[in-house]
Symmetry: C2
Subunit: 128 residues, 2 copies
DNA sequence: CCCGTAGTTCCGAACCTACGAACTATCGAC
DNA sequence: GTCGATAGTTCGTAGGTTCGGAACTACGGG
């Protein structure tokens, strides 16, 4: 099988990171990985079971996060172990990731909006 | 003419901000506005003259930044004055904006890549 | 070898984005 | 007032991106 692509630390771009994290599903996933102490496999997420998102979409989201350099994926037998690359990135862009995560948690704490609902409201505001 | 839409401070979302700033042209514009002490009208930007981007595209970029709650636009006669809403946002998401701007400057400082070239390279990496 | 599980790839439909052309609004000159 | 220039917006469309179902690959267990 094709080996997974991971960008080198100094080829990750701010735009790439911001793009990857500008999706509610992906920030949620990334926040989960970044916060958890141990590696996580793809499908063991609250969000995944809450929203029963299709596998293909999920796979894409993980790919985007990998391509942005935010996470590292490692095949372990049949399943995939994902770990955050926070430390590396923090060295290149100090404080970036942590302040995004902090803001994300602040938001999801203060609002009772679900992950699914959030996306629509974002698009609705465009039409004004 | 239709009055400009600006979201209230507490209806701005992290995703919206990240999306708006995940475009090289828009971060550049926003960084310029955020750093400059006085209001700026639409077309007085280095980037605009460097890349001679069409007006319609530029207008869209400004709209995205406004809709994300990052800037405030004010019609002053025939031209438009844009000011950053950093202070307001910083109150809601402390440190978010400043760390993004810092990262952006760090990147554009260390790399000699032009704004125009950056976008392509981001897309090229997807195909691996 | 066969089956179940975990992910990936393919592809069509829906959605988003860039930019030229046509439009609106305001100011200044005549 | 009307003509023209300037600064932005809106519209339409071609090209690109994303979502998700169906079909596929990889590995492990029985």
């Amino acid at each position: 099988m094709k080996p997974l692509f991971h960008p080198s630390v100094d080829s990750v771009s701010v735009e790439g990171i911001l793009h990857a994290l500008s999706d509610p599903m992906r920030v949620a996933i990334f926040a989960h990985i970044a916060c958890s102490p141990s590696a996580q496999m793809c499908s063991n997420f609250l969000i995944v079971h809450e929203t029963n998102i299709p596998k293909s979409t999920l796979s894409q989201h993980f790919k985007v996060l990998r391509d942005a350099g935010l996470i590292r994926g490692e095949r372990r037998g049949v399943e995939m172990h994902n770990t955050s690359r926070c430390a590396e990135i923090d060295q290149r862009f100090p404080g970036l990731i942590s302040s995004i995560i902090k803001a994300h948690q602040l938001q999801s704490g203060s609002r009772s909006t679900s992950v699914a609902a959030r996306k629509k409201s974002a698009k609705a505001s465009v039409r004004n």
